[in-house]
Subunit: 350 residues, 4 copies
């Protein structure tokens, strides 16, 4: 940490900063400059609360040099973490994982049909919401526990492992019982209570970036999960808030190489929520993979015109099949490959 003094700071004010740093148990190194003095804090273990020092007279600014996260950092663990949600379905290695399926589970027929369609097209895992975070209390909120049961039926029918969202503690325990990976959505990225709950579980977690979250915020939220002992965390870019309302969100693909350099955790991308527009999903899924994503999360519905939610951003099954073919070509171009559909000996060739 570096404390920048005002150019009018008195020697007494500088001494006071030095003393407070020492009281906190660290070393202080004043560094007089041309126009102002800066005081370095040496020995920061990531627990220093800068606001105490910001409050001192004569302090212009406190600059954090040490990153606030620890266990998620690549400085803590050099090699990639591989997160395996089912036999043969792993994130963080050379294979990229394609998770596909409808926004919501609507009925047994719908989810089984969707699961078969995405499996036949080359998906590696199945998505589908049983608990839906809707901005209106009057919108369809998902089938709840019944939705989880139907997802289990779809897994039984297709062999695809299941990724689905939990909204609260009770839901998290239910999801853990039925699914292969618990999704924490963007709106709950800083629901620290829920993060602690899934941090205590022995189940992979897919953590989506919040709409106003910086990369550091995202990593700090993952840190909550790791701090409780669960290291099986997959991160996901899904678009952030920006000023142009032409798309639902601004899909920030640079987040992928940024996170991959700072952290050992796998990072995937969700072009369906990232753009909110069906005809943008395909080019942006390609772009995500070209940028180095360890997987993509894509909404596909057997009949988007009849979807109870997000119909406008869901792909038709045949569009999805073409996308998988393109993703195979792009992964090959950068020395990677698409993970095979579970139960198949090798990836089907498009």
């Amino acid at each position: 940490m570096l404390v920048v003094m005002e150019n009018t700071a008195t020697p007494e004010q500088i001494d006071r900063v030095v003393k407070v740093i020492e009281e906190m148990g660290y070393q202080a190194r004043p560094m007089p400059g041309e126009t102002r003095t800066t005081v370095g804090l040496v020995g920061n273990d990531g627990r220093v609360d800068g606001s105490r020092i910001e409050a001192l007279a004569g302090v212009a600014e406190v600059i954090h040099v040490t990153k606030p996260y620890k266990q998620v950092s690549r400085e803590w663990k050099q090699e990639n973490t591989i997160v395996t949600i089912a036999p043969g379905v792993s994130f963080g290695g050379s294979e990229i994982v394609i998770i596909a399926g409808p926004c919501s589970v609507e009925s047994e027929e719908q989810i089984v049909e969707a699961a078969r369609a995405v499996r036949d097209a080359g998906a590696t895992a199945l998505r589908g919401g049983a608990f839906k975070p809707r901005s209106s209390p009057y919108s369809f909120q998902g089938l709840g526990k019944r939705g989880l049961e139907l997802l289990a039926v779809a897994r039984q029918e297709t062999g695809l492992p299941i990724v689905t969202e939990a909204l609260d503690d009770e839901g998290a325990h239910l999801v853990a019982e039925y699914a292969d990976c618990i999704q924490i959505g963007a709106r709950n990225m800083q629901n620290y209570s829920l993060l602690r709950t899934v941090g205590k579980m022995d189940k992979p977690v897919l953590l989506k970036r919040g709409m106003a979250a910086t990369i550091t915020d995202l990593l700090m939220s993952a840190e909550y999960i790791l701090a409780e002992g669960n290291t099986q965390v997959i991160l996901c870019e899904r678009g952030i808030r920006s000023f142009d309302t032409m798309t639902r969100n601004l899909f920030d693909l640079t987040a992928i190489p940024l996170v991959q350099r700072l952290s050992h955790l796998p990072m995937i991308a969700d072009p369906s929520h990232g753009t909110g527009l069906r005809d943008k999903v395909i080019p942006m899924a390609r772009a995500a993979v070209a940028a180095g994503a360890d997987g993509v999360l894509v909404e596909v519905h057997p009949n988007p015109e009849r979807a109870l939610s997000d119909g406008g951003q869901s792909l038709y099954p045949d569009q999805f099949a073409r996308l998988v073919t393109e993703l195979r070509a792009i992964t090959a171009a950068i020395g990677r490959s698409v993970a095979p559909t579970p139960g198949t000996a090798a990836p089907a060739r498009g």
Copy 2:
């Protein structure tokens, strides 16, 4: 709702839109224009899910004309809702309420000293966190239930009603037991499960705007609480994310007159989190009141240099006393007044 067709849309595609609208139980009115047709949906009760129509061929855009919220709207209820958190402490009338106190409850001595200081300076209510949402799992997380007990002691000593934050269901029940108003923080503004929980309680709720929340998002989150039956909701602007990191957040004061026109609920502002800088809190608290806020939420610490959190944005008690004097002059200038400190016959004069 208005469905804008592409300029190349065929008559069949327009017919299909009309039919889907009718299937959904509404009337459709096609309106051919110079370059394109638009189709109006008549009879929208706020439950129409536009994504189903967005998914149809030939549709360029779906424009929502009806606001998605209902019970929070001024069209639903014309006159201001008055929220009373303790005898004589009401939000939404001509008096503005000053809620002040430290970021966190740290000890009995600290919170009682703070409560006395803010009461003597003219505060109307006491704030102080027992459950703290911290971005790092390694930072001070608040005293929990013990913090609530200490807040009750401070209320006993000073007569000030208490506003404090809950982070989850269990905490919400505890806060409801001890405090006069439950705060839902910015990070949980879209934690719908928690909103439903406090919506079922008979206790006023202070709902803070999330960092990426539009005004519509804020009102929709309040709608979750009202939809469960609790109409005692106070809204709060506390700064949103923007591109200039010189302040912690961007304090959006225009939100105050915007919300007051769209909704009957009271709207206050938090200049401490809104700016994150002690010397900006005073001018921005004045500005909030001049913009029409129904109250302000201000961090004051008896000894900011020793605060366990947010020291850099906490006022010294004497700064706060000067602020209250200025706020009295500004409220007078716009025909309002500062609510008196509970237990005093009339407001002390600065």
Copy 3:
């Protein structure tokens, strides 16, 4: 400047950074920390280009401690700069200046009627566009030189000094000939060629903040003007881009105390463009003055329904008159006053 090395940086990489800093003519002070070394650059005169050092191997980050602006800084000049645009009309002292008038000059009748209306209501100066920066090439672009002549007529009739915008070099020379203050609009805030042109003139400049400009960006643009010799610069907040489209812009009033602490230049605010909504202009003008603005810029039209541009955000003359009365009360509450209308012995009382 502070160079943060990666935690894996080798001694050779640190030496290389030291050497490059010394080659650039500064002193280097390596400061080994717990997990990484940082190297301080001492003697920074504001001309150091960090990108050369960012390019070196082993460098994680370059942190700028010295502010990049000089002459606009309060460290360069401690006392407020007073900018006088006409006898008795000064920005930066205890009086606040009210500049009012229509978006565009449309005709002699319109501008003279508007000028009389705003003068009678208590305005101190007249605004009105002759050169209009319109987002569409097909929209009304202003009357050009003829507009300037009509503004001069209005000044003749009312005694109000004139503030009007220039869009390019040629226009700047024309505006300088006719008006009392040259406005540089938000879209041209980083048109450095135009900034240099007005920097060479002996005429006050009103520089508006760009829609994506940080406070530092705004001050750097002002620095361009001062660097050419013109120190008569007034800064203006007029709203920035944000994610909520409910208002045209996000009016960032915290910019006022921020700029006033960092710079000696006066800072005003434009609530008309800052909000884009007529009924929000009045509360936000009050808020701007309460936040400490040295003036406000308000659009007033004798007949907003017939305005050729910005009708929806223009005040009616009687609304403006009420606003001036409120601003007088608020300035009194904070120990300031509204500057009197030129030619009147003392401010007219509302």
Copy 4:
């Protein structure tokens, strides 16, 4: 255009809106709904100024359905515009164009060395700044006309056509004389005077998106150029302002398919400014091409450690060579190809 009335609007207020629309020369179609009336304006030719109607009593909102741009629209011209800057170097067809070179022209030796390096690696055109828009007036501002002469020397030596920026009218005429394509930078995207100047020229223009520009804003600025008669316009995404300062800008790749659907003009991307970080340039250049960009603009410097500007985001020549190889593989995966280096019979194979 659609005028949404307040739910309390009177029949007289609705009549007034109808009358004003008719006075403006359009047809009005009132459409009574469940809770409010909306009035459609039929016959909008893109010149309707909504602000006049926003100003009327009882109007809640004015919604623009017709896009404000015309000649840039794909509705105006269905097929792609192909912009050719030199024989064999065309944007908008199936080939993607790689423009590479240093941020600034620094010396004859530097620019010729850079030009040879990027040509040998497979670039199709040369970039290099002679006029530099720097945020500080004290930074290196480019070599000006001498820089243009050196670019011409580099073209002579390598056969690569030249793209370089103009900052003002005078500079635009000079650039047009020496270069093959005039770049208008992000800061000048809404410098309408400069847009008109280049709109009158017979020279291709590369228009970069401004930091706060929506897609509509970008297209409107292009419309200024086309409205003057110059249809040879290439658009460029180069990152916008957002809240995370970890990267210099937020690189918005979804802009590419968005623009390509709305407009017939070619759209390229600049990952160097889009990210500002050397090790992010390569994955994001790949992502841009996978998203469908018609070209990329990449900063390459023979010796980034010695660059006078932007050293930290410039690629080393060998990194650039590897990037070109990867881009060839990705274009092949999506049925496109990298445009060959001028003067070579066929693209060199990596």
